[in-house]
């Protein structure tokens, strides 16, 4: 059974916010100064528990995952547990990471537009060239490689040429999304962010690219609210009766998808910057009664929030990035009251 609008049940793991870049739009505000990292043993134990809770995919991001010293150990543990493992990287270190990259099932290199836009956002003159080299290199050795493209409003016109360029290098999947108003991006000018017509534009461009690039998987995070409303039964596992089980007896992945694990070891629903009021547990609490406590108490509030958010889709007739929409909706719900023990 599906859990939400994602095809898989996914853990977004941010093992560190250490990064060799400090991108102007970074939602996790990663940078070379963020040295903290998760303990790989704690992560491994948590992944075992999360596998039992029904999660099937670990998606690594950060920070730059290739800077996480225990990356190999975590990837190997995740594979042992039967997870499919994917990674988003800025590509700058890819040439030094062949052996660990060969362990993951798919890699997406992140892009923000053509060279000018990309390098300006990344604050580095060779960022685009090196990210492209990473795509080319991974494709050449037969690794499944894609591009995670996040665009400011001004960069939308660059998308068709960027898509051509990346597929020419060997990218086989493009995931396209607008820059989220989160983290460091909040400091960017208002012109960065999308108006309703811009969301429609990005959606239509992505649809057209899907036709123009027949051998490439094009996925746009922006979709018509009408489509989401039609597929609202995807949330039946959270909002409806799931095999007659009360909510506290369901698996965590029936309730929360995606699940985000932050570099500070906090489990959150949906996105890195989701309202702390809805935090699930800490990694340490996963081995005790944290998840059970969440299912009995916190999950009910999350259920109400998602229920209201889904209901708000009816008769809108516009376009949204669902996960960003949910996140902004969560911000409107009172002050954060964390369930995670200090």
């Amino acid at each position: 059974m599906r859990s939400g609008f994602l095809p898989d049940r996914i853990v977004h793991l941010h093992p560190t916010r250490l990064c060799n870049l400090a991108c102007r739009h970074c939602y996790s505000e990663s940078s070379p100064q963020r040295a903290a990292a998760l303990d790989p043993v704690v992560v491994g134990d948590a992944l075992a528990r999360l596998r039992d809770e029904g999660y099937a995919v670990v998606s690594l991001s950060g920070g730059e995952p290739l800077l996480y010293r225990s990356l190999r150990a975590v990837v190997e543990r995740a594979k042992e547990l039967g997870f499919r493992v994917t990674m988003v990287s800025n590509g700058l270190l890819a040439e030094r990471a062949d052996s660990v990259l060969s362990l993951v099932d798919a890699v997406a290199i992140s892009f923000d537009g053509l060279a000018g836009s990309h390098n300006e956002i990344r604050g580095r003159a060779d960022a685009f060239e090196r990210a492209c080299a990473a795509v080319r290199r991974l494709a050449a050795v037969g690794r499944p490689v894609g591009a995670a493209i996040s665009l400011t409003r001004a960069a939308i016109p660059e998308l068709p040429d960027l898509a051509d360029h990346l597929t020419g290098l060997g990218a086989r999947a493009l995931q396209i999304r607008p820059v989220a108003r989160a983290g460091r991006a909040r400091e960017l000018g208002e012109a960065t962010f999308y108006r309703p017509a811009d969301l429609a534009r990005l959606y239509l461009v992505s649809l057209a690219l899907e036709q123009e690039l027949p051998n490439v998987r094009v996925h746009c995070d922006v979709v018509p609210t009408e489509t989401l409303w039609q597929h609202r039964e995807a949330y039946a596992s959270l909002l409806g009766a799931c095999d007659g089980l009360p909510i506290h007896e369901r698996r965590l992945s029936d309730l929360v998808n995606p699940l985000v694990v932050t570099d500070t070891g906090v489990l959150k629903p949906i996105s890195y910057d989701f309202n702390r009021r809805f935090d699930i547990a800490s990694l340490e609490e996963l081995s005790s009664d944290g998840v059970r406590r969440y299912k009995k108490h916190g999950a009910l509030e999350f259920q109400t929030l998602v229920g209201r958010t889904v209901a708000s889709l009816q008769n809108r007739g516009d376009f949204i990035d669902w996960f960003d929409y949910c996140t902004r909706y969560s911000e409107a719900v009172g002050a954060p009251v964390s369930l995670v023990r200090a």
Partner: protein, 110 residues
């Protein structure tokens, strides 16, 4: 019924849509036209009418919502029949003058 020539449209639909020379109002109107209640958009292609959109549905399409749309030149419903009884493929052709450049000729340099 008006038809457009295919060549300018097929040049690069994605670029025409991405370019801000195609104004917000046009984009909003196009988006409104292609979203049809109860139908999931499968493909969007340039065609002789402007844009042809393929929709898929597991319910019998409501033709009243289809015909109420502005700019619909033609629509066809393909039941999957013995392949899949409960699945319908609906192809709708929309006149999209703006994509062909009518009224925007100077902006597109035609």
């Amino acid at each position: 019924m008006h038809t457009t020539t295919a060549s300018p449209v097929t040049t690069r639909l994605s670029q025409r849509l991405a370019n801000f020379k195609l104004g917000d109002a046009v984009i909003a109107s196009l988006a409104e036209r292609v979203a049809i209640d109860g139908l999931a958009i499968g493909r969007i292609n340039p065609c002789i009418y402007g844009i042809c959109v393929d929709y898929f549905s597991d319910r019998l399409p409501r033709l009243d919502t289809l015909t109420a749309k502005r700019g619909v030149s033609k629509w066809e419903v393909f039941p999957y029949g013995i392949i899949d009884w409960d699945r319908f493929h609906v192809r709708v052709a929309f006149n999209v003058d703006e994509l062909e450049g009518r009224g925007l000729a100077r902006e597109f340099g035609h």
